[in-house]
Structure formats: structure tokens, C-alpha cells
């Protein structure tokens, strides 16, 4: 187990160093949540077309936009994996005795840390727009944990797709195809209650729904979680473990 953690940490360390040297992606990814909160959120707050109880719509959607920012960023993580394959870096990693699950987990943890930085950016935007944020330690830790696990889930999902499609062109197409359905088939910008039954059924199988639910309960004043933290985090961790096992199995195929 210690060896496994050591190998994972080696990969995470490398990924974090690369991210720290080139933060342009982080900055470019920050633009989208700004637009959603500042434009879409502001406008829909005035329309009052979506029932959000006593919450302002902008407050209601802030956790959804945080989750969306995590999803949109992590889902394209696979591009970097395909790039590493094209460069031969994947081949080099796979001939080492390091466990495949450790290599994949190390990358997921790096994506989780990147997600935390993105969350900080979304918080800054939310503060600027006077979103009622909870600053108590426990809710903050819950948000950080949700962002971390959510990033791990979607980056590993992205890695699985990369292992299957193997080319950047195909990956871009699939990535675009997946992000919007995942986003709209969740509770990110409207409550589950107003969804038609078929969409609510799909949302129940969407990990983004549980991420948003956990964030909504912890991030904003007056927000509440429908499922409860134990259920949301339990489902997210289960999904992550399943994806981790699948990715570890598929990852060696990248070198073939």
C-alpha cells in the first residue's frame, strides 16, 4: 500500500509541477463560470422563472456553476493523456513496475488539486456578485472535498474515454458530445423537482447531480442537500472507484 501511494504521489507531483508552470488553462477555464454567473445568473435572477424557494437564483446556481466548471475542465483531461501517448510518455510509464492503478490515481489526484484552484476562482467571482457564501470551516471542507472528488471522477472518466478513442480528433468530438448532456441532465441550474420524470431518472444516474447536491448544501447560505452528504459522497466515491478500476484496466491499451 505504501509503495502504491509512493507511486501515485510521484505522478501527482509531476502533474502539479507542470500545471504550476503553465496556468493558462486554469485562467481560460475561469472565463466560462464568469459568464454563467455574471450573465446567465444575473438575468435569470430577474426573470424568476425557476422556483428556488427562498434562495436568490444567483445563489442557487452558484454551486451548479462551480460543479460545471469542474466538469468542463476535467472532462478534457483525456486530451493531455492522448498527447502523452503521442509523445511516448505513456510507454515510458507503462514499462516501469509501477501499478497501473497508482499511475491513474496519481493523475486523478492532480486533477483534484487543479479543481481546488478552479474552485477558488469561482469563489472570487461569486464574492464579486454578492453570492451568500457560507464561511464556516465544516461547509468549506465539504465543498473542498466535493470539488476534489468530483474532479477525480470526471478526469478519470475522461481518461477512460481517451483510452477507448485514442486520438485527439475523436476525443474532442466525444468530449463535446458528453459535457452538455451531463450538465443539463443534472440539478446544476434548475431543481430536480421541475424536471420531467424521464430527465429526473437520468439525473439520478449522473454523478454531477450528487456533486451539485453536496455543494448546494454546503456552499451557500440557506442551501440544502436533497440526498444528504453521506449519500452524495458515498455515490461519488463508488463511481470514482469503479472508474479507477476501469481506467487502470484500459490505460495499458494506450501503448498498443
Amino acid at each position: 500500500m505504501l509503495d502504491w501511494l509512493y507511486e501515485s504521489a510521484a505522478v501527482t507531483d509531476t502533474e502539479v509541477r507542470k500545471l504550476a508552470r503553465d496556468p493558462t488553462e486554469l485562467l481560460s477555464r475561469a472565463v466560462q463560470p464568469v459568464l454563467w454567473l455574471a450573465v446567465f445568473g444575473q438575468v435569470f435572477s430577474h426573470v424568476r422563472g425557476i422556483p428556488t424557494g427562498s434562495l436568490r437564483y444567483l445563489d442557487y446556481m452558484a454551486p451548479g456553476i462551480l460543479a460545471q466548471s469542474i466538469l468542463f475542465s476535467a472532462i478534457f483531461y483525456g486530451i493531455a493523456i492522448i498527447w502523452e501517448r503521442d509523445l511516448g510518455i505513456v510507454h515510458k510509464l507503462l514499462v516501469t513496475p509501477a501499478r497501473r492503478s497508482a499511475l491513474v490515481f496519481g493523475k486523478a489526484v492532480a486533477a483534484g488539486l487543479r479543481g481546488l484552484v478552479q474552485a477558488a476562482v469561482v469563489y472570487l467571482v461569486a464574492i464579486a456578485l454578492h453570492v451568500a457564501i457560507r464561511w464556516e470551516p465544516l461547509p468549506m471542507i465539504t465543498v473542498a472535498a466535493g470539488v476534489f472528488v468530483g474532479s477525480c471522477i470526471f478526469s478519470t472518466f475522461s481518461l477512460v474515454i481517451a483510452c477507448i478513442v485514442k486520438t485527439r480528433e475523436r476525443f474532442m468530438g466525444i468530449g463535446q458530445l458528453l459535457t452538455m448532456p451531463l450538465f443539463f441532465a443534472s440539478n446544476a441550474i434548475y431543481p430536480l423537482d421541475i424536471m420531467p420524470d424521464w430527465l429526473r431518472g437520468i439525473a439520478a444516474f449522473n454523478p454531477l447531480t450528487y456533486l451539485v447536491d453536496a455543494l448546494r448544501g454546503a456552499m451557500i447560505v440557506g442551501g440544502h442537500s436533497v440526498y444528504g452528504d453521506a449519500t452524495s459522497f458515498g455515490i461519488m466515491l463508488l463511481v470514482f472507484l469503479l472508474l479507477l478500476a476501469l481506467a487502470a484496466r484500459l490505460y495499458p491499451g494506450l501503448a498498443r
Binding site: D3, Y6, E7, A9, A10, V11, D13, T14, R17, K18, R21, D22, D86, L87, G88, I89, H91, K92, L93, L94, V95, T96, P97, A98, P252, A255, R256
Partner: protein
């Protein structure tokens, strides 16, 4: 399962690989003695890279058997990986990291810790002649520097066997000779067995104790360079040997992916 013959570093018996309807490797049987530099020659698509990928556990054979350092590649891949180093044809050093960071990552994945890790990284930088640029990003390096770094990376854990897939492709003559010197140094100082794939006849002639020529996935001939040349004629060179035994010339044939890969590597090496 450990092999009993300690003098043999690599052995394959009827090793085959099929991709759908294409047979990339067809019943390859050969053995490489410990301490040898062994060359696998052939044009693009001959089966060189497929062979090396099977021997380094990156690819599973369709049939046949291969042992590396006494371990079956299919049954004991982890034991094989502990005992080998691999320099792929593609540029595997990460340009977004420094030389030290690249080496440290490999050292950690091979299980090196603490003082041993620090020492081995320092020795590897000296071996590659990169001490003065240890903390510079690899993307600023020349092709020769990157290849030396990759050889150093692949040998950090002092493997018994080193595999190199066309390591000097795209390098200028000076850089090529520097890489050759490092490989000969490894063989002499550590008794390392080296298996190298190439379609460079000069490289095969200078480096290899023994070589095998593959053609369309099959073993065309195997032997020592001088013996093979003597078989063909008194004035024959290795290009003549290749033409004689395979009925083809170097650079003929090949598959789209392999050619694209080679050209990509050459382009990145500048």
C-alpha cells in the same frame, strides 16, 4: 516462472502477433546472450517495434512464448519490468519538466527512495552529460541531449536489459555517435544486455555483436555482422546483406502509423 539458462537474456519461441487480419510478427524464434548488443533490423513495418513491445510487456503476443531476464513476459510482467529499461522510438522525456524532474519521476516509479534516489539521479545526469542543464526544461534541449537523457532515465535502476527502439532516428551524426558511446559504456561498465531496433545499417555495424533481420514479420536471417557479410560476398556491406536475405531495400514498405510516428519523432528532434 524463472528460466534456467543464465547465459540467455532474451529468448522467443514461435512468437507471433496478429492485428485483425494483419500478421505483424510471424513465429519469431531467437535468443540473445547476456552482455550482447543485439540488433533487430528491418524496414518500417517489418515487426521490429512489435517485437520490442511484446518483450517490454507493452503488448501481448497472439501466440508463442518470450522470456526476458529469465521471466515469461506474459506470466511475470512485473518481474520483467523490474529488470528492463526501455527507450521508445517516440520522445518519451517530458518537455514540460526539467531533466532532474524527468529522472526523479522514473526513479520513483522504479521504487528508488531517499539518498539512493538522489545519488542515482546525480549519476544519471553525469552519465548523460547534462549536469549543467539539470534544472532546465527539456523542451529547450537538442535532440541528442533528449536521447541521452532518455537513456539515462531508462537505466536509473541499473536494469539487466535495455531495449531501445530506433534511438538515433532523426539525430545528426555527432549526436548519434554520442548516443552510441553511451550504449557501449553501459555494456562495458555494467555488462548490460542491449537490444536495439534500427534500420540504420551503420548503427548496426558499429554497435551490434549479433543481429537479426526481420522482413514482413518473419526472421530473414540471424548472425554476427561479419559472418553475414561474408555469406553474401567479399565486398558486401550490411545493406547488401539486407537486400540479399530479404529481397528488399531499407526504407521500403511500412505502415502509415509507423511512418507517421517516425516522422513525428524526427520533426520534434528538429
Amino acid at each position: 516462472m524463472a528460466a534456467t539458462n543464465n547465459t540467455i537474456a532474451i529468448a522467443t519461441v514461435d512468437l507471433s502477433k496478429r492485428f485483425n487480419h494483419v500478421t505483424a510478427l510471424d513465429r519469431l524464434t531467437l535468443s540473445v546472450a547476456r552482455g550482447q548488443i543485439f540488433g533487430l533490423l528491418g524496414p518500417n513495418g517489418a515487426g521490429k517495434s512489435t517485437t520490442i513491445k511484446i518483450l517490454t510487456t507493452l503488448l501481448e503476443a497472439s501466440s508463442g512464448r518470450a522470456t526476458v531476464a529469465g521471466f515469461d513476459v506474459a506470466a511475470d510482467p512485473i518481474e520483467v519490468r523490474r529488470r528492463i529499461g526501455y527507450v521508445p522510438q517516440l520522445l518519451s522525456a517530458d518537455g514540460a519538466l526539467t531533466a532532474t524532474e524527468n529522472l526523479t519521476l522514473s526513479a520513483r516509479l522504479y521504487g528508488l527512495h531517499g539518498a539512493r534516489l538522489t545519488t542515482r539521479v546525480r549519476e544519471a545526469l553525469a552519465f548523460a552529460g547534462l549536469e549543467t542543464v539539470a534544472h532546465k526544461l527539456v523542451r529547450t534541449f537538442s535532440g541528442g541531449m533528449i536521447r541521452r537523457l532518455e537513456v539515462a532515465q531508462a537505466t536509473l535502476h541499473t536494469p539487466e536489459i535495455l531495449f531501445l527502439d530506433e534511438p538515433t532516428i532523426g539525430l545528426d551524426p555527432v549526436a548519434r555517435r554520442t548516443v552510441w558511446e553511451r550504449l557501449q559504456q553501459l555494456r562495458h561498465s555494467q555488462g548490460m544486455t542491449i537490444l536495439i531496433t534500427t534500420h540504420d545499417m551503420e548503427e548496426a555495424d558499429v554497435l551490434c555483436d549479433e543481429l537479426a533481420i526481420l522482413h514482413q514479420g518473419r526472421l530473414a536471417v540471424i548472425g554476427q555482422p561479419e559472418a553475414l557479410k561474408a555469406q553474401v560476398g567479399p565486398e558486401a556491406d550490411l545493406a547488401d546483406v539486407f537486400a540479399h536475405f530479404s529481397g528488399a531495400v531499407i526504407e521500403q514498405e511500412g505502415y502509415y502509423r509507423g511512418i507517421r510516428q517516425s516522422r513525428g519523432t524526427i520533426q520534434r528532434l528538429g
